[in-house]
C-alpha cells in the first residue's frame, strides 16, 4: 500500500504491515508536518526577536508593541487545520476501527486473554465454536479453564504467547484479561487495544505482509510486565494450514485436518458490534 510518511520514517517508525496502517501513518505524518511548520515558524520568530530586541540593540521598549492582528490569522489557521484533521481523518478512521468490523465468515476470529505475564490465545477450531470456559476449571495445564465436556471445546486450539494468522485476511481479536489490565499492542499492524478483566473488547486488522511480529503488553501489569511478549506470525495460507494442523494434533483432538478457510466457520456467526460480548458461551466473563 502506498504510504507517504517521510517524517515518520525519519523518526524511526518501522514499516507498516497492515491494510489500514498506512492511514494511521498518514494522519501521524500530517500531524508531524503541521507541528514542524509551527515549530519552525515560531522558532524563527523567537530567535529573531531575542536578537533584534535585546537591550543592547534596542535600549528603549515600545509600550504598544505589536498592533497587527496577525496572531488572529495564525489562530484561525491552527483551528482550521486541526478541524480538518479531526473531521476529515481522525473520526472516520476511528469509526472504521470500532464500527465497521469485517464479516465473520471472511475473518479469523480469535480470543486473546491476558494474564500476568502471558497472552493466551483461544481459537475455535474447525467447528467455528468457542468451547465453554469457566474460572473454576482453571489449572496450570488448562490456563483458560476450557470445559472439555463441552462438544464445542473438542477441536479448540489454545496456545500461549504465539498466534498465527494467514496473510490478507481480516483478523478479529476479542480481548479480555484474567487478572489486571493489559494492552495488546501490535506496533507493525498499527493497532492496540486494552485487555480489561470483566470486558470482552474486539479489535481488528488485516495483515498484508508475512513475517514475525512482536505482541507488546502496553499497559503496566506488574513486575513481569517488561517481559510480557507474544509473537504474531503472519503466514502464507499454506503455512497457516500447516500450523493449524500441527496445533490440532498437539491439542490431541480428533480434528485431523482443518477444513479450508472458507468453511472453517460454517456456522457463520453474526459479527458482534463493538463492546457486545462475542458468541463464546463463557459465563465467567473470562
Amino acid at each position: 500500500m502506498f504510504s507517504l510518511a517521510l517524517i515518520n520514517e525519519f523518526l524511526g517508525q518501522p514499516p507498516n504491515a497492515s491494510e489500514h496502517g498506512y492511514q494511521i501513518d498518514h494522519i501521524l505524518e500530517f500531524c508531524h508536518w503541521f507541528m514542524g511548520a509551527l515549530f519552525v515558524g515560531w522558532s524563527a520568530y523567537f530567535i529573531y526577536v531575542l536578537i533584534r530586541f535585546r537591550k543592547r540593540r534596542h535600549p528603549t521598549a515600545d509600550y504598544h508593541g505589536v498592533k497587527s492582528g496577525i496572531s488572529t490569522h495564525l489562530e484561525f489557521s491552527v483551528v482550521l487545520i486541526e478541524a480538518v484533521l479531526l473531521i476529515g481523518f481522525a473520526i472516520p478512521l476511528w469509526a472504521k476501527r470500532v464500527n465497521q468490523f469485517p464479516e465473520t465468515k471472511d475473518a479469523i476470529l480469535v480470543h486473546a486473554i491476558g494474564q500476568q505475564f502471558n497472552w493466551n490465545f483461544h481459537l475455535p477450531g474447525p467447528d467455528g465454536q468457542f468451547g465453554r470456559r469457566d474460572v473454576h476449571l482453571v489449572t496450570n495445564s488448562n490456563p483458560l479453564g476450557l470445559d472439555y465436556n463441552d462438544p464445542a471445546s473438542k477441536d479448540d486450539i489454545v496456545t500461549m504467547n504465539e498466534l498465527h494468522v494467514p496473510v490478507n485476511r481480516p483478523v478479529i481479536i476479542e480481548l479480555s484479561s484474567k487478572d489486571v489490565i493489559h494492552n495488546f499492542a501490535l506496533v507493525h499492524m498499527r493497532i492496540a487495544q486494552d485487555a480489561i478483566p470483566g470486558s470482552l473488547i474486539p479489535m481488528w486488522f488485516k495483515p498484508i505482509k508475512t513475517g514475525t511480529y512482536e505482541i507488546i503488553c502496553g499497559q503496566l501489569c506488574g513486575l513481569g510486565h517488561y517481559g510480557m511478549k507474544g509473537t504474531l506470525v503472519v503466514d502464507s495460507p499454506a503455512d497457516y494450514q500447516a500450523w493449524l494442523k500441527e496445533r490440532a494434533e498437539l491439542s490431541g483432538t480428533q480434528a485431523a485436518a482443518p477444513a479450508a478457510p472458507k468453511t472453517a466457520n460454517p456456522s457463520g456467526q453474526p459479527e458482534g458490534k463493538p463492546g457486545e460480548p462475542a458468541q463464546s458461551p463463557s459465563p465467567s466473563g473470562l
Binding site: 507541528m35 535585546r54 521598549a61 491552527v78 479531526l86 476511528w94 473488547i201 466473563g285
Partner: protein
C-alpha cells in the same frame, strides 16, 4: 515612585519592629508552626524542592537500570540495597519490583509532592497576598493546616519505601485491578504495605490541596487592595485563581475514588473489581461486579485538570518575568485572562483522551477529541501572546529571564507533540510509548520546572532581602537546558520505534528497541538519555549552593530590585509580618512598563495617575480611585 520612596525611609525602623514582633512569637511559631503566608510559602517551597530533587534521584537510579539492565550499580548500589531493604537492589542490581516502585513514586513525588507544592502552594502563598496587597491569607490557620496535611502525606509516602515489599508499584496512575491486588498476600502486611500507604498518603495530600485552594479563592476574592480591580490583577494571580478552582473541583472525586480503592484493598469491597478474576492461577474471592474503568474515569477526572494545575502557575510566573524583562506590557492581557478561564473550564471535559484504548466507541471519542482540540486554542493564544509580548521590548537576559524564555520553546514542543496524541487514530500508534513520556515531560520538566526556577530567582530577593548570584545562575541554566533536551528529544525517536513505557529492561529484550534510528538503536539511546540525566543532576549543584549561600551572603536587595511594577515590590524585602507598612492602593494595570512620557521605564501599580498624565494604553481605562 511616591509610595515606594516613603516605604524606603521607614523600611529600617519597621523592619526592626517586625523582627521584634516575630521574636515575641518564638522560634517555633515563627519558623515551624507559622501561620504567616510567607513562612508557609517558604516551607512549602523548601519541602517541594527537596521532594523534586528526591523524585529526580529516583529517576536517576532508574536510568541506570535502563541504560545498563541487570548490571550492578557501581559505588552506591550496595548501600542503596541495604537502605531500601531486601528485594530492592540485592548486590546493587535493581529488581523489577523496585524498578516499578521507583517509577510509581517518581511520578507521584514529582507531581504531588514537588511541582504542586512549589508551583501552587509555595509561589501562591508567598506571592499572591503580596501581589494583591493583602496582609495575609484569609484563613491563616487553615493555611498552616494545609501545609501540615501535606507534611503528613509526604512522610507517609516516604515511609512506604521502608515497609516490607517496598513502595507502591502500580504506576502513579494506580490503575485497578493491579493496584488492588498488588502488595497483598502472605508476604505483605495488610496495612503497612506500599500501595495502602500510597492511598492513605494521597488522602492527606488531597486534603492539603483542598484547604489551600479554598484559601486562595477566598483571599483573591476578598483581600485585594483598594483599586485592584479584576482586570488590574497580575496575570500570575489569575493563573493561581483558576488553579485553585481546578483543585477544589477536581480533587474531591479522586479523594472519593481513593477511599473506594482503600476499601477494595482492606475491606474486600469490589468497586473496581469485576467478577471472575483469576490472580496467580487462583480465583479471587471477592464479590465482583465492579468496574476497572470507573477508577480510570475518576482518576483522570482529576488527572487532566491536574496537568493545568502544573502548567498554569508556570505560565503566570513566566508572564510576570517576561513583562518585567522585556520592559513592556504583556501583549493581550485581556485575551490571556479569558484564555486561562476557558482553559480551566475545558480542562474538565477532556479527561477521557487518556483512555483512547479502553474500547471507546466513535461517538464518545469524537466528543473528547473535539474538546481536546478546543483546549489547544486557548493554549495557543497564551503562547502566542507571550511570543508577541517580546516584540518591541528591550530584553534583559538576567537569570530569571533566561529560564522564562526557555520555557516558551520547551512548552511549545510539549504542546505541539500533544497534537498527534489528541487524535485517537494517531494515538493508536503512540499510546503508552516513550513519545508520550517525552510529550508530557516537555510540558512539566523543561516547561514547568524551568518556570519554577525562573520564579525562584525572581522572587528570591523579596523573600530573603538578597539576590542570588547571576553567574552561578547561568552555570545552572545552560547545562540544564542542554541536558533536558538530550534527555527528552531521543524519547520521541524511541516512541516512534514502538518502545513502550515502564519496561524494566530498557527495551533490551525487544526487537522494536533493536532497530536503528539516527545511528543508534532505540536501546542504545538509553545511554545518552541516562548520561544526560546524571549530568543534569550535577548541574543542580550550582543552584543548591547558590540558593543557600545567597540567603546569608548574597548581594543585598532593595524592595524593588528588578524595577518591577506590581504591588509585592512596594513591600520591604523581606516583608515583615503583615507585609505592608500602609495598606497599598492600586491605581493602574499591572504591567505599566515603558509608559511614554516618563523618566523611568516602569510605573508601579501603586503610583497615582497624575492629572496631566497622558494615558494611552491597550488596556481598558482604569477607573479613578479616590483613596
Amino acid at each position: 515612585m511616591d509610595s515606594s520612596t516613603s516605604l524606603e525611609t521607614h523600611h529600617d525602623t519597621h523592619h526592626r519592629a517586625a523582627a521584634h514582633e516575630e521574636h515575641k512569637l518564638g522560634w517555633w511559631r515563627t519558623y515551624i508552626f507559622s501561620t504567616d503566608h510567607k513562612m508557609i510559602g517558604i516551607q512549602y517551597g523548601l519541602c517541594g524542592l527537596i521532594f523534586l530533587f528526591f523524585g529526580f534521584s529516583l529517576m536517576m537510579l532508574m536510568r541506570w537500570q535502563l541504560a545498563f539492565p541487570g548490571q550492578a550499580l557501581p559505588v552506591i548500589g550496595n548501600a542503596l540495597g541495604h537502605l531500601f531493604g531486601p528485594g530492592s537492589m540485592p548486590d546493587g542490581k535493581m529488581t523489577p519490583e523496585f524498578y516499578n516502585s521507583l517509577g510509581a513514586m517518581h511520578g507521584t513525588i514529582m507531581i504531588f509532592l514537588g511541582i504542586v507544592p512549589v508551583a501552587f502552594a509555595a509561589f501562591g502563598n508567598f506571592v499572591v497576598p503580596l501581589q494583591i496587597g493583602a496582609p495575609d491569607m484569609t484563613f491563616p490557620k487553615i493555611n498552616a493546616a494545609s501545609f501540615w496535611a501535606f507534611g503528613v502525606g509526604g512522610v507517609i509516602m516516604l515511609t512506604s519505601f521502608f515497609v516490607p515489599g517496598g513502595a507502591a508499584k502500580g504506576g502513579w496512575t494506580s490503575y485497578a485491578p493491579l493496584s488492588v491486588v498488588a502488595d497483598t498476600g502472605p508476604t505483605f502486611h495488610p496495612f503497612w504495605n506500599g500501595q495502602t500507604l500510597w492511598l492513605f498518603g494521597f488522602v492527606f495530600l488531597i486534603t492539603s490541596s483542598l484547604l489551600g485552594a479554598i484559601n486562595f479563592i477566598t483571599t483573591i476574592i476578598q483581600l485585594r487592595a483598594k483599586g485592584l480591580t479584576w482586570m488590574r490583577l497580575p496575570f500570575f494571580v489569575w493563573t493561581q485563581f483558576v488553579t485553585a478552582f481546578l483543585l477544589v473541583l477536581a480533587f474531591p472525586p479522586l479523594e472519593a475514588a481513593i477511599i473506594m480503592q482503600i476499601m477494595d484493598r482492606v475491606a474486600a469491597t469490589s468497586f473496581f473489581m469485576p467478577t471472575g478474576m483469576i490472580v496467580n492461577g487462583a480465583p479471587l474471592h471477592i464479590s465482583g461486579g465492579g468496574s476497572p474503568l470507573l477508577w480510570q474515569h475518576l482518576f483522570w477526572f482529576l488527572g487532566h485538570p491536574e496537568v493545568y494545575v502544573l502548567i498554569l502557575p508556570a505560565m503566570g510566573i513566566t508572564a510576570e518575568i517576561l513583562a518585567n524583562n522585556s520592559r513592556k506590557p504583556l501583549w493581550g492581557y485581556k485575551s490571556l485572562v479569558f484564555s486561562v478561564l476557558v482553559l480551566g473550564f475545558l480542562s474538565f471535559i477532556v479527561w477521557a483522551h487518556h483512555m483512547w484504548l479502553t474500547g471507546m466507541g466513535s461517538t464518545v471519542s469524537a466528543f473528547f477529541q473535539t474538546t481536546t482540540l478546543l483546549i489547544s486554542i486557548p493554549s495557543v493564544i497564551i503562547l502566542s501572546a507571550f511570543f508577541i509580548s517580546l516584540w518591541g521590548g528591550s530584553i534583559r537576559f538576567n537569570v530569571p529571564m533566561l529560564f522564562a524564555t526557555a520555557f516558551l520553546p520547551m512548552f511549545g514542543i510539549g504542546g505541539l507533540t500533544g497534537i498527534p496524541l489528541a487524535f485517537n487514530s494517531a494515538d493508536l500508534y503512540l499510546h503508552d510509548t516513550y513519545y508520550v513520556i517525552a510529550h508530557f515531560h516537555y510540558i512539566v520538566a523543561p516547561g514547568t520546572i524551568f518556570a519554577l526556577f525562573a520564579g525562584i530567582y525572581y522572587w528570591f530577593p523579596k523573600a530573603t532581602g538578597r539576590m542570588m548570584n547571576e553567574f552561578w545562575g547561568k552555570v545552572h541554566f545552560w547545562p540544564s537546558l542542554i541536558c533536558m533536551n538530550v534527555i527528552f528529544l531521543p524519547m520521541f525517536l524511541q516512541g516512534m520505534l514502538g518502545m513502550h513505557r515502564r519496561w524494566y529492561d530498557g527495551g533490551q529484550g525487544w526487537n522494536v528497541a533493536g532497530e536503528t534510528v539516527w545511528g543508534q538503536t532505540g536501546f542504545q539511546w538509553n545511554t545518552w538519555i541516562s548520561s544526560a540525566a546524571w549530568i543534569m543532576g550535577l548541574a543542580q549543584i550550582p543552584f543548591i549552593i547558590n540558593f543557600f549561600w545567597s540567603i546569608r551572603h548574597g548581594k543585598k536587595a532593595k524592595e524593588n530590585p528588578w524595577d518591577a511594577t506590581t504591588l509585592e515590590w512596594t513591600a520591604p524585602s523581606p516583608p515583615p509580618h503583615g507585609n505592608f507598612l500602609s495598606a497599598p492602593v492600586a491605581y493602574r494595570g499591572p504591567y505599566e512598563y515603558s509608559l511614554p512620557g516618563r523618566d523611568v521605564d516602569f510605573t508601579m501599580q501603586s503610583e497615582p495617575i497624575q492629572p496631566t498624565e497622558h494615558v494611552r494604553r491597550t488596556e481598558p481605562e482604569p477607573e479613578p480611585v479616590h483613596a
